[in-house]
Symmetry: C3
Subunit: 279 residues, 3 copies
């Protein structure tokens, strides 16, 4: 298990490298929150590019520092685009982030999410039920029923996905981030619980999708998948808490949240409160 | 004709039930305003999900409390998706809202809007010319030329669609909402004229689309289509008036408008000024 | 070379005509910034409509005062939609604006951008590298390497595209706008350098895309392509500078920027600082 100080150093260096090198993280993502994803990626220091076609996905996979695949609103062409892009990423050994949003809805989504097992995403980002469902789809689910209670600060929902998240991370060799009131991030060895955020984050569309896009930006510069995913989760908890403290409603929250992503320093991101445990 | 007090009670109960039960209203809607639709639905207390593929539309039809179909930016796959989704909704007896935006542009749009006649949407939401065109397309147009003047407070445009709206509502057994300076909502028996709003609402994209999505949320909980549609129209007039009073321009208006949707109470929504007339 | 006072008069008249006649400029544009494009078009006084299908593109080409084609996120159907729409525009002699965003990514994009050569867009809007790449694709590139230094106020990047921009404008008979720290607009005879803007404009997604959409609105009313393109570039530099001066971060900038587009008067737009040179 990594020491907290060492992990904080990795996060701070990743966040600083992103600000300094402006890495491009291409996305194939849903149309609902695509603008929010791009603006969040830019706000933390990255560069965004979105495509739909197969050869364009392969191009971005090769050209970008990392890639983000979010299966929110599938188009028919994704039957070609997503496997070809994921295959290219695996061939090139490039980092990528998967958001298995709405897993379980429709045949194509299941087919695509199944195929991604072979290409091992660097980071998987989802809510508790998505992470559990993906572990089940990939045949990695253990006996998750025995260990639901983890302490007062964990929300039951996130905590219920702990075993699934650990199993997924051990399978991919990457990291898994489970979003909730407190957020869980694991690489299969260490479990980090990141604190902060705001209830407003669940009352706008795209908090989760854009976090996936931001994690992709950090994977382009981070030393480990765990540091990348926790950098993303930390800056979301930090920006969410700061934005939530100065607004009364959800429209203003969206604006303030992008502002706070933009204003967060590498030190801020590294020192957002989190706890570490053995997986 | 329903008594005003009774209708206000229905609206207040619907708005309260939405806040308490967070009903999911899936959407197949245009890419221009899809983010606004989702955030507006969430702001009034609902839950949003958007898809494009046929089996996913059927899934949301079955899983949601209501569904929203907006034909703004058609994709080729909609030739399958929209009829299958509407058919599933009709089979299940689930409420749904149709926005016939841009009726008249292109062959597929006409084909799809024609096919919806068989599936009788619970609420139709459009501007005056869209409502008139839909009544014509469905062969429901009467002699609309004889009764254009309805009083000082009605805008001519909305008022010109009154007969078409009444005819559509009588055909579907649901409600029709016509957007304009004052808004007309009818179930074919009662005509409600709802007041408020802001000129800024016509100077941003998506006021109408997102109102359709919000009406869908209310149909999931309302006792009648009329109460659902008027709840949506009332909260839009209320939030528009409040937001418009505190901003100078359209960018700030968008933010303030979502804030006011979020802050509106069930009592606020029920008591927004409206008049009732015999249809 | 046109006199500055005459060009300012054309800009002011175009901006005033847009506010008075609310011209519709249809768009086929990317899903990332489609909402921003629409709201920016409306903010300056135009009307927006977006489509994807071939016959709908032709419909908007015929119905609108101008059309905007942005190849940001291509869908498969664009193989039919974009050539048919551009052909219709050329047949009707209607003004249109091309944004060759991400030129070089994928086969379809190259194929479509090549085909547009025959249909001569009224305005081409891009960043320096996109403008250079388009001139190369169309076989119009001269010896651009010899004249990179143009003075202290020009950014090197925009200035490197000067010859490509002039060559494109001479070929199309229209105007070309190159976006950067200072913006270059040319009709092949006159080169205008427009000043203002904000570093925040490069830190949000859609500054360039929405500028293309706004230029399309102005082409519907302007006496010349140069006046239309410079009207768009001037209002962007003006609104960017005003918005940037009153915010600290990128979320607030987006809101303030739309506000300032909305509040800019025809006089403001005409008198935003710009210099003229012989091409």
């Amino acid at each position: 298990m990594i020491a907290k100080e060492e992990l904080q150093g990795q996060i701070e260096r990743a966040a600083r490298a992103v600000r300094e090198t402006n890495p491009m993280a291409g996305s194939i993502t849903n149309t609902v929150t695509i603008n929010f994803v791009a603006n969040a990626q830019i706000a933390v220091g990255g560069s965004a590019a979105m495509v739909y076609l197969p050869d364009e996905g392969e191009f971005l996979a090769a050209a970008g520092g990392a890639t983000y695949i979010n299966v929110g609103t599938l188009f028919p062409i994704y039957e070609e685009t997503l496997p070809r892009t994921a295959k290219k990423l695996a061939e090139l050994g490039k980092p990528w982030v998967l958001d298995p949003v709405a897993i379980g809805i429709g045949e194509l989504r299941t087919q695509l999410l199944s195929c991604f097992k072979a290409y091992k995403p660097t980071v998987i980002r989802g809510n508790a039920s998505e992470v559990i469902a993906l572990a089940n789809l990939w045949g990695l689910a253990g006996d998750g029923g025995a260990s639901k209670v983890r302490g007062v600060d964990s929300t039951e929902a996130v905590d219920e996905a702990r075993e699934a998240a650990v199993a997924l991370a051990r399978y991919t060799g990457g990291a898994v981030a489970v979003s909730g009131e407190d957020d869980l991030v694991t690489d299969g060895e260490t479990v980090a619980i990141s604190h902060g955020g705001s209830p407003f984050m669940a009352q706008i569309t795209g908090s989760g999708c854009s976090l996936g896009g931001v994690c992709a930006v950090f994977t382009a510069c981070a030393e480990t998948p765990l540091a990348a995913a926790l950098a993303g989760v930390n800056v979301y908890n930090l920006a969410g808490a700061r934005a939530g403290a100065r607004v009364q409603a959800t429209g203003s929250f969206q604006t303030a949240f992008i502002d706070e992503l933009y204003l967060a320093t590498p030190e801020d991101i590294a020192t957002n409160p989190f706890d570490l445990e053995e997986a």
